[in-house]
Subunit: 208 residues, 2 copies
Amino acid sequence: MYHHPEALFQDRMIAMPARAGETLFIQGDPCDEFIEIRRGVARAVNHSRDGNRQVMALFFPGDMLGLPLARDHRYSAEAVNDLLYVRHSPSRWHTLLSRMCREENRLLDAVWGEEQSFLVRSLILGRTGMLSRMAAFILMTAGKLPQSDGVLQFALPQTDIASYLATSPETVCRSLRQLREYRIIAMPRRDRLKILAPDRLAIIAEGA
Amino acid sequence: MYHHPEALFQDRMIAMPARAGETLFIQGDPCDEFIEIRRGVARAVNHSRDGNRQVMALFFPGDMLGLPLARDHRYSAEAVNDLLYVRHSPSRWHTLLSRMCREENRLLDAVWGEEQSFLVRSLILGRTGMLSRMAAFILMTAGKLPQSDGVLQFALPQTDIASYLATSPETVCRSLRQLREYRIIAMPRRDRLKILAPDRLAIIAEGA
DNA sequence: CGACTATTTGAAGGGACTCAAGGCGTGTGG
DNA sequence: CCACACGCCTTGAGTCCCTTCAAATAGTCG
C-alpha cells in the first residue's frame, strides 16, 4: 500500500498561500521546483496545441506534484480552491536522490504517488456510464479530502469535475442530483458532501 | 523531449519470446523484475475487484514496464501479439539506482517513459467523440509501431483497442471504416494501416 | 475440412451533449 | 446596508452518438 510521503521532509518549511485559480507552475517551464500540497486542492491542467484543456489529475493534502522526471513540466498546476503549499527547490531533490542510494524506496514512493494520481483518472474514464464515473470519483475524493463527522469538504467547482471526468458541467450536476435522489449521498451545502450509503455507491461505481 | 531508454543497458541480454496473449507478470505480484520490449506490443491490464478489466496502456519496442516504483505490480502485463522481450532482474535495478547518484536522469527517463504511456490514454479518453479518440490513437501508435514504406504494422486486436479507448469493438470497427471512407487511412490488410492524410487525421484528433 | 475466434454490419433504444434560460451565491461598490 | 453584477449551478428540450443485441462473414488454427 502507498503511504503519503510527508515523512520525506523532516524539517517544516513555511507553507505559502495561493488563491483559487492561481497558477503554481506552467506547462513547458523547466522543472526547477516541485510542490507539496498542505491544504486545499490543486489541479494538473494539460493544454494541447489546439487549445484543448483537460484537468488531468487532482492533488490533495500530502500529495506532491511537478517532480522533475522530465526536463520540462508536462502540465500546468493551478489552485482549485484556496490552498497552502510548499515549494521545494531542486537542491532538495538532490538531497532526496543521494539519500535514495541508502533508502531507495522513499523517493520512489513520492514518484509513485504522483503517477497514481494520473492513473486514477484513466481508470475512472474507462468506466461506462456517467453515474458510474461520478460514483468512482466521489469514492476517490472521499479518501483524500478532509472531513468532519463524515461530511466531506467538497469544495470542487463542477466545471473542474466536468473536465476531469471528460463531460459537461450539466451532466455533473445531473449525476449529483441523481445520487441525492437515491439517498446515496447528501449535500447540505454546495461544498459539503456526506456519503449515506457507501456500499451502494461502490456498487454503482462498479457499473450497476 | 523524452528519449527511449535503450541506452540504459550497454550489455545485450538475450531476448525471450512470448506468444500473443501470454502473461508477462500478474497484478499484485511483488515487483521482482521489470520488462523491456524489444519487438511486438504488450498491454497493461488492470483488473478491478469487481471483475472490471481495462487495458490501461500499450507498450512498444524500447519501452519498459513494471518498474518497481511500488512493492507490487499495479497491473498485469500481457503480450498483445507475438513479441520479444527482456526480463530484467532486481539486481539490475539496484545497479541503475547506484548509477543514478552520479547520472541522475537516466533512471528518471525510464520512469518517465512508463508514466507517459499511461498519461497518453488519459489524454485520449478526455477527448469527446469516438472518431476523435480513434484518430488520436492512430497518431499515437504511428510514432511507436514499426512501419515500412509508410505502412504501419497495425497488428492490434480490435478488442484491445476497444478496451483501451473505453468503447465497444463494434464502435472501433465503425470508426476505422469511417476513416477509410473518408480516404484518411487505408488498410490493405487487416493488420496493415497507411495514413493517407496526416493533416486531416490530426484535425479530427483535435476534435473537428 | 471444421471449430473457434475476430471482425463486420444492421436495427433499436437510451444516455449524454448542446443550446437556452432561469435561479442561486458571492463579492463589490455606492 | 443595500443594490447590482458576475460567475456558477440548475433545469428543460431536442438531437445525435454510442451501446446493446443479434446475426452473418472473414480469418485462424488444429
